[in-house]
């Protein structure tokens, strides 16, 4: 969705975190609220220095991560493209408001630069241990989009994609990075704004008295005007009817929640993003995401040199889990290898969708160290 159409733009030598800032500004983000936390603070610092220089950009440092999410939701209701960035402990604090964002269908982006946990854990070391929290962290059944990026250029592109998905589907989108990706400095190209497709939330075209803020539509995504535009309506975290008023009627509750799932599920094929590298004839495929995918890419190349028919499925969308990408591997691939810097959170998804076609091998590290190409190669060569 957010691939540059042509090679143009300026080259910079940037951190992954700085690439997120570039991507957000390209996507039209004009509001940032946050609270400092390692290893995500560079995103906040970048926004603090850049946003006041834009025509309408607002930056505010809030008193904690709960308040940051509240301000982002307020900004989203007021019509802004808004974001925050955080890391593990701050992400935990945001969970209640993430559920509120899902319930009121507020487009917004949360970047979580994952560090070692649980609790204060390893603030300066990488991990990928918030994957299931990103999907299921807030209480109640809800649908949410979770993305990931593995290098600095991808940090920029996936930030734009995150905003586009948020606007298109009226939903919070979580971009999971890890400490390595956010703190790696590489040369990247910042494309010109016209080389990306930039999406904006649908605006109502009907007169205010006809507008129903949570109406059933074919796409499942009702239009969303900014506060103050004449479309006065009620926003609540309670289960609500199509007008936004609280309801306890079973038929209205089920219609609301089913639509909120459907609006994402029915666009599954547009949302599932993954790079397939040498998978066409692969007999053993690594399923990886984030910085580990870079180790995996090298391991796959080395395995090919040694005659192993290896491939890499690099996940960019983590949720909804891109299951059909796996299904396509089934005719030739017998083994999946899932390396990740946690105790097995994404391999759990892989095993969930696996209906016996694959043997699943896992590689897990939780010691604050990256999984090396050698470790993955060893598993690829074990037949």
């Amino acid at each position: 969705m957010a691939k540059p159409k042509k090679k143009s733009g300026r080259e910079i030598f940037a951190l992954g975190a700085e690439a997120v800032v570039e991507g957000a500004l390209l996507a039209g983000c004009s509001f940032y609220a946050g609270y400092p936390i390692t290893p995500s603070s560079e995103i906040m610092e970048g926004m603090a220095s850049r946003l006041p220089g834009t025509s309408d950009g607002v930056f505010v440092q809030m008193e904690d991560e709960i308040a940051s999410m509240g301000a982002v939701i307020g900004a989203s209701l007021a019509g802004r493209k808004a974001m925050t960035a955080t890391s593990g402990p701050g992400f935990s604090l945001m969970q209640e408001f993430i559920g509120y964002g899902c319930m009121i269908e507020a487009p917004l982006v949360i970047v979580n630069v994952m560090r070692g946990g649980p609790s204060t854990g390893l603030p300066t070391s990488p991990a990928q241990a918030d994957v299931q929290q990103a999907r299921w962290g807030t209480h109640g059944d809800h649908s949410v989009i979770v993305l990931s990026a593995s290098d600095v250029q991808e940090c920029l592109a996936m930030t734009v994609t995150a905003f586009n998905f948020a606007e298109r589907y009226r939903t919070p989108v979580i971009l999971l990075l890890d400490e390595i990706t956010a703190h790696t400095r590489e040369k990247i190209t910042v494309p010109t704004p016209d080389s990306f497709e930039i999406l904006y939330r649908l605006q109502p075209s009907m007169p205010p008295e006809w507008y129903k803020p949570f109406e059933e539509t074919v796409r499942g995504v009702p239009p969303m005007p900014p506060l103050g535009a004449g479309y006065r309506y009620h926003v609540t975290g309670l289960t609500h009817d199509p007008l936004g008023f609280p309801t306890q009627r079973p038929d209205e509750i089920v219609a609301l929640l089913e639509r909120q799932f459907r609006k994402i599920d029915q666009f599954f094929f547009d949302i599932q993003l993954a790079d397939e590298i040498e998978t066409a004839d692969a007999e053993i495929v690594v399923v990886a995401y984030g910085s580990v995918a870079r180790s995996a890419q090298l391991a796959v190349a080395q395995a090919r040199e040694k005659g192993v028919k290896a491939g890499l499925l690099k996940l960019k969308t983590l949720f909804p889990f891109p299951r059909t990408k796996l299904e396509r591997l089934a005719p030739h691939c017998k083994i999946l290898v899932v390396p990740e810097m946690n105790m097995g959170q994404m391999s759990r998804e892989v095993k969930r969708v696996n209906t016996g076609q694959f043997a699943v091998r896992t590689i897990n590290r939780v010691d604050g160290q990256i999984i090396t190409p050698a470790e993955i190669l060893k598993v690829l060569r074990r037949r």
Binding site: P52, G74, L227, G228, A229, R232, H234, G237, P246
Partner: protein, 279 residues
Amino acid sequence: MAERTQLIHHYLRHNKKFPHVYCAGCGHGIALGSLIRSVHALGWSKDEVVMVAGIGCSGRMAVYVDFNTVHAVHGRALTIATGIKLSNPNLKVIVVMGDGDALSIGGNHFIHAARRNIGLSVLVLNNNIYGMTGGQCSSTTPLGATTTTTPFGQMEKSFDLVELAAAAGANYVARASAFHAQGMDKLMQATFTHRGFSLLEVVSPCHTQYGRKNKFKTVVDMYRWLKESATPLEQYRKLSAEKAKGRIPLGVFVDRDEPSLEERYADLRADQTAQAGRR
């Protein structure tokens, strides 16, 4: 009467199923009436008013009024309101919270919003109790009071909302009572039009959950107590410590004219844009 009916039809939502949740004798309805009269007196259009409310009895107010209304999560109304006001400073953002909402679960947001001096009109309807959840003690429940979670009497001291907001840096701080509706109207209008963070505490009796358990036989007893203990601030300040005990001072406690955060931010942005133009 006819005028009042017109106000009701204009400002309350006709498509929302009434009756409201407020019990007989609740002070919140009086505050709601004052709010509507104040918005009307100021001549604001309904489209430019945003009401952000928390959770609890006071939080339900947002659903009844025909403004842009946001019913937040518990304790966080001020954070959402901050995002709205910074995004669009032209909107008139009114925040309605209860004492549990503003001072217990949302206490941190309360002092920081006041410190930030963000241009919000904040109403705290203080009934000294968690009404909706069944009468548990809050951080403004008086020492010794009986509630469902302090069956042997409240052992903790309570917050003084006015002192807290003043110390935290609010531009305008006032207190009104549900018994003195006309006085409330005046203070409410001043709160709505004052620059920066403006707080109005409304002492709002809850007979159902608080009064019944604390020796107020009837609703009327509660209002009689409020009438007798409320004292204009000027008079209150002249009273000896002994005589002031148990009295509730009403009036304007803080009236400062410091620039609000959104004004400072607009200055910064103008400055930055001008610099970018010179480069």
